[in-house]
Symmetry: C3
Subunit: 269 residues, 3 copies
Amino acid sequence: MNITADTIWSAVRTVREKAPVVHSITNYVVMNSTANALLALGASPVMAHAEEEMEEMVGIASALVINIGTLSPAWVRAMFRAAEAARKRRIPIVLDPVGAGATSYRTRTARELIKAVPPDIIRGNASEIMALLDSNAKTKGVDSSASSDAAVDLGRALHAECGAAVCISGETDYTIGRTGGIRGRNGHIMMTRVTGLGCTASALCGAFAAVTPDPAVAAAEAMAVMGIAGEIAVSGSAGPGSLQVYFLDALYRLSAEDIERLLKLEVEE
Amino acid sequence: MNITADTIWSAVRTVREKAPVVHSITNYVVMNSTANALLALGASPVMAHAEEEMEEMVGIASALVINIGTLSPAWVRAMFRAAEAARKRRIPIVLDPVGAGATSYRTRTARELIKAVPPDIIRGNASEIMALLDSNAKTKGVDSSASSDAAVDLGRALHAECGAAVCISGETDYTIGRTGGIRGRNGHIMMTRVTGLGCTASALCGAFAAVTPDPAVAAAEAMAVMGIAGEIAVSGSAGPGSLQVYFLDALYRLSAEDIERLLKLEVEE
Amino acid sequence: MNITADTIWSAVRTVREKAPVVHSITNYVVMNSTANALLALGASPVMAHAEEEMEEMVGIASALVINIGTLSPAWVRAMFRAAEAARKRRIPIVLDPVGAGATSYRTRTARELIKAVPPDIIRGNASEIMALLDSNAKTKGVDSSASSDAAVDLGRALHAECGAAVCISGETDYTIGRTGGIRGRNGHIMMTRVTGLGCTASALCGAFAAVTPDPAVAAAEAMAVMGIAGEIAVSGSAGPGSLQVYFLDALYRLSAEDIERLLKLEVEE
């Protein structure tokens, strides 16, 4: 996979120029902050969840992001309708399985979404990704690999199961796609003290997937940009309050030099 | 219409003294930020959407703001009930037709709300306002005027159709009422990179409508105060993150001198 | 009751070490800001409202916070289910009766919740607490006491009625429990210009109740920490926008010295 500081910067510039519409069906907690992150990056967020308008709203979008952070039956129905409409229009779909594994309602919903309309990108933490694997794949995933990194195995197993680019975020962000894996090491521990930055990463995956053909590359671009903007923000912050403010400023001001200077990325073919 | 830096400042002071209760039925994305803007201005926000309590909640409010940014059937029913209760109590109603034109569900809901209970103020961008006009009025609106400014025509056509003061926001904010139009030129392009500042403008329309008898003047007051606070905020900002923080600070600290110095307004009788 | 700067600091440290999961069913306006406050303090917020997952979500929580700020029937049902599950697991329950007294739907819901599953802590302002008392208790509450402080009487009356620690917030925060009362005088008037800081106080009550056996002490810890972080934040703020940013920073950085230096607390046995 071809991903370097140059290609990431090129993707950022394309987002800023094209301002792709990213339709998000996301949780109540992060609607405001993810919309602001998309705007700061240069994309155009749209939030809508009524079944009555799913097809039309997807119809004006360049990517769909589904985040199951605060579910209820009507929202789940809208997610399925939106995913089907997005698949018909061949726009990329990102799934953030927030809390999969924590409750069976979330695990089941995420699995059924994946089965009904396989997304292009799935982004979650290790325990969420683990919860999406059927037990067979879980065993195979863990057994079939010599890698010492459990996240790598998980990503490979889920990718094998559903075909999506799988991005497992953590201290190292690991993205696996059709032609290999990408390890990103940007970001800062204080980012875990701001609610919804994982959800923001998924929203940015939508923006980059709208302008980058390979979903795995798009996900890695999003994680790199998140992490770099986060590092810049932390360096001026006195805590998580100012971090989230400066994070939006950093996204908005992100430059080729920032990416060049701070990017920590390894591609494994 | 009588609107000057002095009368705007007088309206701000009245809001601060009376702290009018502004009942908002608004979208999930902006609930927090619009409540904070109302508080920073000096008003008292109330957010409630359950049909079970609409009449009572409207009963303690001095203005009602309806924003269709994230609809669903139960919320639409509550909007109608609230609007009817507000009309009975003769408190001003502001409608923000977010996304009208983008989906037929939104267009239809906004039109039906206007038909059932004509609001006192409608505030939206040009394409949202355009979507509210029936095709007949659209043609008449555009044809019947020698004005070179399409927004003016739109505002006049919608005002003629429903009687509401119509505020079309953009680089120039144009408000049309019974006795003429007001052009406001405050604001800054970076404000479009913060989610929900249009919705905030509509919320502030509610606060000013609670203390200003002429709806068109109230809307123009809200737009001027938004724009001026925004300009002050931008001047200290490093991006949209700090902009939204300083915007609330600027609203809270807004002075007669700020308005006098920065106001850009033209009244057309 | 044993509550001093030392014990409050010890509770803060325990929250930071144990990162208790606080399950909140709260209103749309404050979901983001209360989640961020819990994270800044060191707790682990979870937000979920689907009936389908209430038992499981409560099953991983160390405290449950129910806030009735934006009700609807499905949410009310989830609140009852969550409260029952929390009672079975014997984890503390905090109730924030936002707007009780403003509409009968809120008053009724709060009263029914208290009757069905008496919470460990009820935190509200004086008029909300007043609305929860039946008229008999109201009379007794007010008449049976020589205290000149109406809030004390209210707190005693509601505590007698349902057994919960009752925290009435205002310029003075008064908490009454089984063995007496605690008066806290931290905080700043500008905090009333930020939406949802009352809701944030209730969320922090959940975090402290997860690590402090006596609910009244937990509530007083939360109010003290809120007020102290607020005072620190105000001192650097230019208005309510920067206040809410610095408030999160202050919570995150709160030290034993801050508490020692700023705490204003009186215990009445």
